[in-house]
């Protein structure tokens, strides 16, 4: 860290930026919607300039999305400061959709802006990369699937060819060679393409080409009712089913001004912590397995399996899909089930407290994980990566603590964080987060308040919108929702934390040897489905 100055959390403040922008005439303050600290309306020409000022003041970039409301395309972006979330809004004409880019100031905005071009045709001036991103060969360059006039089933009925012409930058130099990997990978994993440029064993550069599992989630959400939307949200990324469905439901409930009971919210939090625990357990084992330490894999997959069996027994689904519903949850716990869960939680706590030191102190495992795949705290902040990746590189942002929503507003959430940013620390953060989640689960179970499992979500009678912000196990999860008078979806945009984590995988692979790619990739574990939509 330079000069002894430590940035533990995003340092910038939304209100300070908003006041400055309003004073300079760069933005007009609007009434903030629920869950946000401020909401600003900008002229399209100031879009990039405002990002520049926000970056200077240390705000973290979170998301950008479009919404075609003919004859305009409205564009929104969310930034995060230590006091909460800021929504920026602008609109461009559908005939001349031009906007200044935020990417020069926020590298995390690069791919989302390219996606806005692929899906809506928005042109970003000053963008460093004019290549397509989610579009492969399934639709034409001049077609934009998320425009209202684009048919849901597309314009083509012929077979789609593979995307063999994606313009990867060429490399030259003595001994430099390329390794193309994917989309079908060697193991049981989602599809994507990685292009390695290497000398000997050392990776000079790795570039991702994603979008293979793009299945049109945003488009097929249109017209759904809230129950159908929630089912879809629970399948944006199967490993984050609870978090995505919670974010979508939170957005809907804020839009409809409905407040689920505190019991329902506590149960949602229990489900979310259980999802976090299951994924951390599975990945901790898999990370160790990628360097040949089978003991950890066997132990962690044992614990994960027991955990999932309990999910099935007490909540009705091994991956907890479809448990979060609009207005609440569809599962409850009896006092007897609560004590069963408490016992199992204590049991897992003891197991992790025994196993974690074994992993952290085992020399031949740590030898492989320490100093491997380092993401510096500066890079973590520059890319605004959230979740365990950020925390292992000292960017601690955790919405459960830093922008708390019910029931976390009444809980103390401990956030483990380290400076080293290597695979070893990402593993350690996840192990410690399991312990934190277990403590939270026990506390939630102990104080499970009474209340209805589900409250009604009556149709609003007019067009409404809302934003959901949830701390998923991968990090900050966002959902935007616009509903018509009958509560049917006009626009659904889920932003999986993987959008923020995929770019840093490329960064942390610099000078890593090719055989260490799997363990680095697993330590980041971006969701392909959550990203490709």
């Amino acid at each position: 860290m330079n000069g002894g100055q430590e940035f533990n959390v995003t340092p910038g403040r939304v209100l300070q930026l908003a006041a400055g922008l309003a004073a300079d005439g760069l933005a007009e303050a609007l009434e903030p919607s629920p869950g946000l600290v401020a909401r600003l309306s900008l002229q399209p020409g100031n879009w990039g300039r405002v990002a520049e000022l926000a970056a200077q003041q240390g705000l973290r970039w979170s998301a950008v999305w479009g919404d075609h409301c003919p004859p305009q395309i409205s564009i929104r972006a969310v930034l995060f400061g230590s006091d909460g979330h800021l929504l920026l809004e602008t609109a461009v004409d559908e005939q001349r959709p031009e906007l200044t880019s935020q990417s020069p100031f926020y590298p995390a905005a690069e791919r989302p802006e390219r996606t806005l071009h692929d899906m809506f045709g928005v042109q970003f001036s000053g963008h460093p990369d004019d290549r397509r991103w989610l579009r492969h060969q399934a639709w034409d360059e001049n077609d934009f699937p998320l425009r209202r006039d684009f048919p849901r089933n597309g314009k083509r009925s012929t077979a789609t060819t593979g995307d063999s012409s994606y313009p990867f930058p060429a490399v030259a130099g003595e001994g430099v060679y390329e390794i193309p990997v994917g989309p079908v990978h060697a193991g049981i994993i989602e599809p994507g393409h990685f292009r390695f440029q290497a000398v000997g064993e050392t990776i000079l550069r790795m570039e991702e080409h994603l979008g293979y599992v793009h299945k049109g989630i945003e488009k097929i959400a249109e017209g759904r009712d809230l129950a159908g939307l929630t089912r879809l949200a629970g399948r944006v990324s199967g490993d984050s089913s609870v978090a995505h469905s919670w974010a979508a439901c939170q957005a809907a409930e804020r839009a409809l001004q409905v407040e689920p009971s505190s019991r329902a919210l506590a149960l949602r939090a229990i489900l979310a912590e259980r999802e976090r625990i299951a994924n951390h357990l599975g990945d901790m084992g898999a990370i160790c397995n990628d360097v040949g330490f089978a003991f950890a894999q066997v132990q962690m997959s044992r614990l994960r399996e027991l955990w999932q069996r309990q999910n099935l027994e007490l909540f009705g689904h091994r991956l907890l899909m479809d448990r979060v519903v609009p207005g609440g949850v569809c599962c409850d716990l009896t006092p007897q089930q609560i004590s069963t869960l408490q016992r199992a939680g204590d049991c897992l706590h003891r197991d992790i407290e025994e196993l974690l030191p074994l992993l952290l102190e085992y020399p031949s495992l740590q030898d492989r994980l320490r100093t491997t795949g380092v993401l510096s705290p500066e890079d973590a902040r520059r890319f605004g990566v959230t979740g365990y990746i950020g925390r292992a590189s000292n960017l601690q942002d955790d919405l459960r603590r830093d922008a708390p929503y019910a029931p976390y507003d009444r809980l103390q959430v401990r956030v483990p964080a380290y400076l080293e940013g290597d695979v070893a620390k990402r593993l350690r953060v996840r192990g410690e987060e399991v312990l934190v989640s277990l403590e939270l689960q026990q506390q939630l179970l102990h104080e499970l308040p009474p209340g209805a499992l589900r409250v009604a979500c009556p149709p609003p009678g007019r067009e409404v919108e809302g934003i959901g912000l949830i701390e998923g196990w991968r990090g900050e999860m966002l959902a935007y929702l616009r509903l018509d008078a009958e509560s049917r979806v006009l626009r659904y945009f889920p932003r999986d934390p993987s959008w923020l984590s995929w770019p840093v995988l490329e960064v942390l692979l610099k000078n890593v040897i090719v055989p260490d790619f799997p363990v680095c990739n697993k330590s980041v574990n971006g969701s392909y489905s959550g990203h490709d939509l």
């Binding site: 793009h214 089913s241 997959s301 991956l319 969701s527 489905s529």
Partner: protein, 169 residues
């Protein structure tokens, strides 16, 4: 090191016989093993392809490899190359971006070959169905021999689905 050995000793053996459903006396894993012995020289090699899943099916596919189910004891193993595979296990709707990759993987598997569509998406389109980005069910793109329904199918349903196909093929 002794702490690790001690933990291994205390964990003991977890692998369990699968509970039989429709035929209480029979044990599906063992029957799977018999079929594999007879038809595949004791070894069934599976190549999986995620053609557009949400990754839920992949999590359960990993689970059949954990100590409780230990699918390898029946002679079933997942392989990296389609050239080594007897069976193609496909998850998800087939995204248009994966259409050709799936066809090429299918073509790379030597004949005779089997195809299972795992999960509701692969079987009938599930939540995603057909759209500008999705071809829908796997059968819309390559021939399918069996469907294992569920969202996602549990490890046990996955094992039973494989067995049912082996018994009738």
């Amino acid at each position: 090191m002794f702490r690790i050995f001690n933990r291994i000793r205390r964990t003991g053996q977890l692998t369990e016989p699968l509970p039989a459903a429709e035929q209480p006396a029979a044990e599906p894993g063992a029957r799977c093993q018999q079929e594999i012995a007879r038809k595949f020289s004791h070894s069934l090699a599976i190549r999986m392809v995620d053609a557009g899943s949400c990754n839920g099916c992949e999590l359960e596919m990993h689970a059949v490899n954990n100590s409780f189910y230990d699918i390898e004891r029946f002679g079933i193993h997942f392989v990296a190359s389609p050239r080594h595979a007897d069976l193609l296990l496909v998850t998800g709707v087939v995204s248009r971006h994966m259409e050709e990759a799936l066809q090429r993987t299918y073509a790379a598997i030597p004949n005779p070959k089997l195809v299972i569509a795992m999960g509701d998406c692969a079987g009938c389109g599930g939540e995603f169905g057909v759209s500008y980005a999705s071809c829908g069910a796997v059968a819309n793109v390559i021939p399918v021999d069996a469907v294992i329904s569920g969202c996602p199918p549990t490890p046990e349903q996955l094992l039973r689905g494989i067995l049912e196909l082996l018994q009738r093929s």
